[in-house]
């Protein structure tokens, strides 16, 4: 019985290249290499890619660097422990804030408005906190699509009040708003300090990104507190003075990350 080897395309051959040296692969791959000069040259070029040897001086330098002041270290806490501890501490911040400022905003809002604002801000808080905590360990960053999702949702928290509440001109827009924003910032700064405690033992390869995630998480927590205590149910007030806290703290986190990067 004659066996005919199925012809392989260059795209299929590329898939083999991802896995290793195609010279060691199937009959189809070998036949494709005989027939396709470009793939043959490509595979030959990759075949010699791993030949460089490490000079003895470089190895000696590397060993000196790795062995200097060698003392036992305590590994970082697991992501679950770090996240649970941080969430418990942040829950305490929320409780303390509500005891201090009250919860008049709860009754002033309709159930669907409460559900939407808490769900939106809560999901951004959890996602950005998870992203910040993952940055503690090199090579564990949240994949790029998730990072973009956090950024998109954070923008939604800022602009969400326009969809949730009606616009009604407020007589004491600036003085009342500024006081509300200051309270939010205070809660946000305390939350930021709690998050910093969780991050401080990590090795941050991207302080800029970590700072932004931490700032947004702190801002979202402040937003939740403001939405609970503030009795003003108006889109302009919520967007500027509540959502603005998320933007301010996100920017502050970014700047702190930038400063950490510069001081390295």
């Amino acid at each position: 019985m004659s066996e005919r080897i199925r012809a392989m395309s260059c795209d299929e051959f590329d898939a083999l290249l991802d896995l290793g040296n195609p010279f060691d692969q199937s009959d189809e791959a070998r036949q494709h290499l005989q027939e396709c000069p470009r793939c043959r040259e490509l595979a030959a070029a990759f075949g010699g890619g791993r030949g460089e040897s490490l000079p003895a001086s470089a190895l000696a330098k590397a060993q000196t660097a790795a062995l200097r002041d060698l003392t036992p270290v305590r590994p970082l806490s697991s992501p679950f422990v770090a996240a649970s501890g941080t969430l418990v501490a942040l829950a305490c911040v929320i409780l303390a804030s509500l005891l201090l400022y009250g919860s008049h905003g709860w009754a002033a809002r309709l159930p669907w408005q409460r559900a939407s604002s808490y769900l939106g801000a809560g999901s951004v808080l959890v996602l950005s906190l998870a992203a910040a905590l993952r940055e503690r360990v090199p090579g564990s960053s949240l994949p790029a699509p998730w990072r973009y999702a956090v950024a998109a949702l954070a923008t939604l928290v800022w602009t969400g009040p326009f969809m949730l509440y009606q616009f009604q001109p407020e007589t004491r827009f600036w003085p009342h708003g500024a006081a509300c924003c200051c309270n939010g910032l205070l809660v946000g700064v305390v939350s930021g300090m709690v998050i910093w405690l969780a991050l401080r033992r990590g090795y941050l390869l991207s302080p800029l990104r970590t700072g932004w995630f931490a700032g947004v998480a702190a801002g979202c927590l402040a937003f939740i507190v403001q939405e609970t205590y503030c009795p003003v149910v108006e889109s302009g007030h919520s967007a500027l003075w509540h959502g603005g806290v998320v933007a301010i703290l996100g920017t502050a986190g970014l700047l702190m990350g930038w400063r950490a990067l510069r001081s390295e």
């Binding site: 793939c39 070029a45 030949g51 390869l205």
Partner: protein
């Protein structure tokens, strides 16, 4: 296992870890910089940082993505530092002269290095990790903070470009 013992200050394990991983890192640095001196400095800097960050490794996670992330940041920091110091100079000007006695393997390596210079940075990074350092697609995705699909796409685009370049070179000869 070696990394856990390194965290516990086991000198033998640390020496063995450096001996096993350093060649991979050195080849990767060399593929990017094409300078043995710079690659040697980058390797040393990487191990200084690894030493400083060794408590952040969490067993049983794979060691290479963790270590390679630190190496990649060291390389980028080094590149920025050199750029600041020297201004915008072409890396080709700094490239060492190829050895006069060239075996087939050396010729292949030089061809690959030369061709890789014409790839976009993101594709070159992926290709060096995949073909020079021998990392898997999953490991590269972790290091780059990306998905396996996105890494595969970048690698395949790089293959296509290289194939076209190889065809062009052959046509010119």
């Amino acid at each position: 296992m070696l990394m856990e013992r390194y965290q516990a200050a086991d000198e033998i394990a640390a020496t063995e870890l450096v001996r096993r991983v350093s060649p991979v890192l050195y080849r990767s640095f060399l593929a990017h910089t094409r300078s043995p001196d710079i690659s040697e400095d980058l390797l040393q800097d990487t191990w200084i940082r690894v030493h400083k960050a060794r408590h952040t490794y969490r067993p049983p996670a794979p060691v290479m993505p963790w270590l390679y992330s630190i190496a990649e940041h060291t390389r980028l920091d080094g590149y920025r530092r050199r750029q600041r110091r020297q201004g915008r100079e072409s890396t080709l000007e700094n490239a060492p002269e190829p050895a006069s006695e060239q075996t087939d393997d050396v010729v292949q390596r030089l061809t690959l290095q030369k061709l890789m210079q014409s790839l976009p940075e993101s594709q070159r990074q992926v290709l060096i990790m995949l073909k020079v350092s021998g990392l898997s697609l999953e490991e590269i995705a972790r290091i780059q903070g990306s998905t396996v699909g996105a890494i595969k796409l970048r690698a395949h685009r790089a293959y296509q470009t290289l194939r076209a370049l190889l065809g062009g070179e052959r046509g010119a000869q």
